[in-house]
């Protein structure tokens, strides 16, 4: 659900600094008077568009694909001015309400003028949320803008100014798989971020993470999280330590539930450790490897637990258990592979292997309970499936031997019959 709504919220990003209220909007910025049925072929813009189609600022070109243009919203809704005048001086003359290029604060004001207007949005996009502005005010971007920092992101920074597209449009900068690059455009720019005292390697780390690979390489736009799924979009801010489990738990709900019920949850809280992040990291979240487990120096558990401690022993149990399970998988695959190469049907064994693999996946999740009895129960289930797979494999090889033995016997029998017939042929009366 978050994946669906988050980019939708970004769609009409509104930045409004504390000193600029929505009620300060110019009267003509309201959208109630705009035509609602302007067609795509007849884009609104009047004389503004006529001129800007010939200028080098690409405004006219971008306007062709803009969702607002296609909804019949004209230039003067944001910029003011008189779009009926073919002379630019007359179009921008005092009294025409011309506001020119909007400042960061004005952009937020202008977008928010419509997108936070409940009555207006009901007539345009009834399903679109109208809380972008409120959320933006709580974001780091919004807070800094309120303090006068104009380099922070506002609506146009993410959505663009004159080429705003629907969030589910793959060309939109806020389309799920484009979000990391959009955020990274600023947050990965060392020079740009110099004055903000925050790291700039988030994007580089993200693209190497399991989430980044799922989103950017496998194009899993529905399942894999982008920046906004954890940080929020219009209310973008670094998550607090207390919120980490809830944020990760949005998708990894069972892991979060197990962790919060585990003895580690209160211990983490006591030490002010960020639950999931303490072990898995933030942006560079990778698959769990064997190096993670165990009680060797460098292993994850050894960050807090010394050798010989209860926690370290549990880590060792996990390591040995998972290692044993993995080794068994190797033996099973070799056995089933051998039987299959020899033409035996081992699909039943493969079903057991699949069930065991599912069990292993569940066991990995169960680790978050940090409970040996819970894990033992699951391990027994995995072992039973692995044993059943082995049984199928050995039975297949035995059956193969039986088949060959049967073939040898039947061959002998057929050979005997063939000889009998051959002898009979020789005893037949000679041909003329």
């Amino acid at each position: 659900m978050m994946k669906v709504f988050a980019p939708a919220l970004i769609c009409v990003c509104v930045a409004l600094s504390a000193d600029v209220g929505a009620d300060a909007l110019p009267a003509d910025a309201g959208a109630q008077d705009l035509p609602a049925d302007a067609g795509a072929e007849n884009l609104p813009g009047g004389q503004c568009l006529e001129c800007h189609l010939t200028t080098e600022d690409q405004v006219g070109e971008l306007w062709q694909d803009d969702v607002h243009a296609r909804a019949g919203i004209a230039c003067d809704a944001c910029h003011g001015g008189d779009a009926t005048q073919d002379d630019s001086d007359l179009a921008k003359q005092p009294g025409s309400g011309y506001r020119g290029v909007l400042s960061a604060s004005e952009i937020a004001l202008s977008c928010g003028g419509c997108h936070s207007d409940v009555e207006y949005m009901k007539t345009r996009k009834p399903l679109l949320p109208i809380d972008q502005l409120d959320k933006y005010r709580t974001s780091e971007h919004g807070k800094l803008l309120a303090k006068g920092e104009t380099r922070v992101a506002q609506c146009a920074s993410c959505h663009g100014a004159h080429g705003v597209r629907e969030v589910n449009d793959a060309k939109s900068p806020v389309y799920a798989s484009n979000v990391p690059a959009t955020c990274g455009g600023c947050h990965g720019d060392v020079e740009y971020m110099r004055d903000f005292d925050i790291k700039t390697n988030q994007y580089d780390e993200y693209v190497q993470s399991v989430h980044g690979k799922a989103l950017l390489e496998k194009n899993d736009v529905r399942g894999a999280p982008a920046c906004n799924d954890c940080h929020g979009n219009h209310g973008a801010a670094p998550p607090s330590i207390d919120a980490i489990t809830n944020i990760c738990g949005t998708c990894h709900s069972y892991n979060a539930e197990l962790f919060l019920g585990s003895p580690l949850a209160p211990a983490f809280k006591e030490k002010s450790l960020a639950d999931c992040v303490a072990c898995h990291g933030k942006h560079l979240i990778t698959h769990v490897s064997e190096e993670w487990e165990g009680d060797k120096p460098g292993a994850t558990c050894r960050k807090c637990h010394e050798e010989g401690e209860e926690g370290s022993d549990l880590a060792l149990y996990f390591t040995e258990t998972f290692g044993s399970i993995r080794q068994s998988f190797g033996e099973i695959e070799q056995l089933l592979g051998e039987a299959e190469v020899k033409g035996m049907d081992v699909t039943e064994g493969e079903d057991y292997v699949e069930a065991a693999r599912q069990g292993l996946m569940q066991a990995r999740t169960l680790m978050h309970a940090f409970s040996k009895p819970m894990m033992e129960e699951k391990v027994i289930e995995i072992a039973e499936n692995q044993a059943a797979a082995l049984k199928v494999g050995y039975a297949a090889l035995r059956s193969l031997e039986d088949r060959r033995r049967g073939l040898a016997i039947s061959t002998l029998l057929l050979l005997f019959l063939t000889l009998l017939v051959a002898v009979k042929i020789r005893t037949l009366p000679p041909l003329d």
Partner: protein
Amino acid sequence: MSTSPENPERSLLAWARDRYPIAKFAEWAKHKTVPIGPGAFWYYFGGISLFLFLIQVGTGILLMFYYKGSVDTAFESVRFISAKVPFGWLVRSAHAWSANLMIFSVFIHMFSVFFMRAYRKPRELTWLSGIVLLALLLGFGFSGYLLPWNELAFFATKVGTDIIGVIPVIGDPIMYVLRGGEEVSGSTLPRFFALHVALFPALLTTFIVGHLFFIQLQGIHEPDAWTAHPEQRKTMPFFPHFFMRELLLWLITLNVLGVLAVFFPAELGIEADPFSSAPAGIKPEWYFLSTFEFLKYMPAHVGPLEGEEFGLALISIGFLGWCLVPWIDRGRNPLITRIVMVAGAAILVFLTIMTYLGHTA
């Protein structure tokens, strides 16, 4: 002959003799002969084909005990037959291998008849009924291949029915009827099943009976040279001489079938998914490979025709010519005979090369 109760067999025979013309049949069988010539060995392939057909019928009936011909159950039922049913793997493998061996044997039989010029008068209908039998067997193979509902069969059927769809005018309706819709789908399987276990067996049995009837009526073709040199004529009694030799070959065939079934059991692969993309290297069964490969070499267009249409037109003309061979070569003109024989050899070489190329492609 005694009909006493102490000898039940004899009494049963006597009972039958009293009612049926068994003596006449025995007399006929006693005098039935088979010519012995340089090509006599090839005569046995007709009988081998018949033997393999009987195995097909037997194993097919056994498979039907467990097979469930619907999309949701077909694959699992075949898997069940292979994995769980006692000797199910053997029955399925024997069915699959005997089908292939039977088509191979029929091809040998047909070409041996061709090169011995046994198609000539008065055996024109024997030749035609033989061609119909081959066509029916190919239909058997094509329809049976889909029944396990695995991925390879699914896409091979798609390719095969696509080719049928290329035939002008009638191709599309035939393809539609075969598929039960625009595409190979769940509707196709029951149709192929019905063809495989009802229509084709009925037609095949009818034509086999007709084919054998013609052979019994006219006798087995004798070498042409005997007409000019009757002193060379040499025959053997069908019973028991020829029959015992045939039986010997049947036993060997059965053993070969057993070896193939044990060492190369029929594979099942993965279940068909109509919504997945076709895996690379999809090919039809070997007996369709030559046609499949030949069509691949066709250019995009030949005159007003699509390349595949042109290819199918060539194949159709060739097939028609093959059917009409008894009327083309009546044995009156040695030049025509020579041309027909060379054409037959060329067709054999062509089919072999195309099959090889298709196999290695």
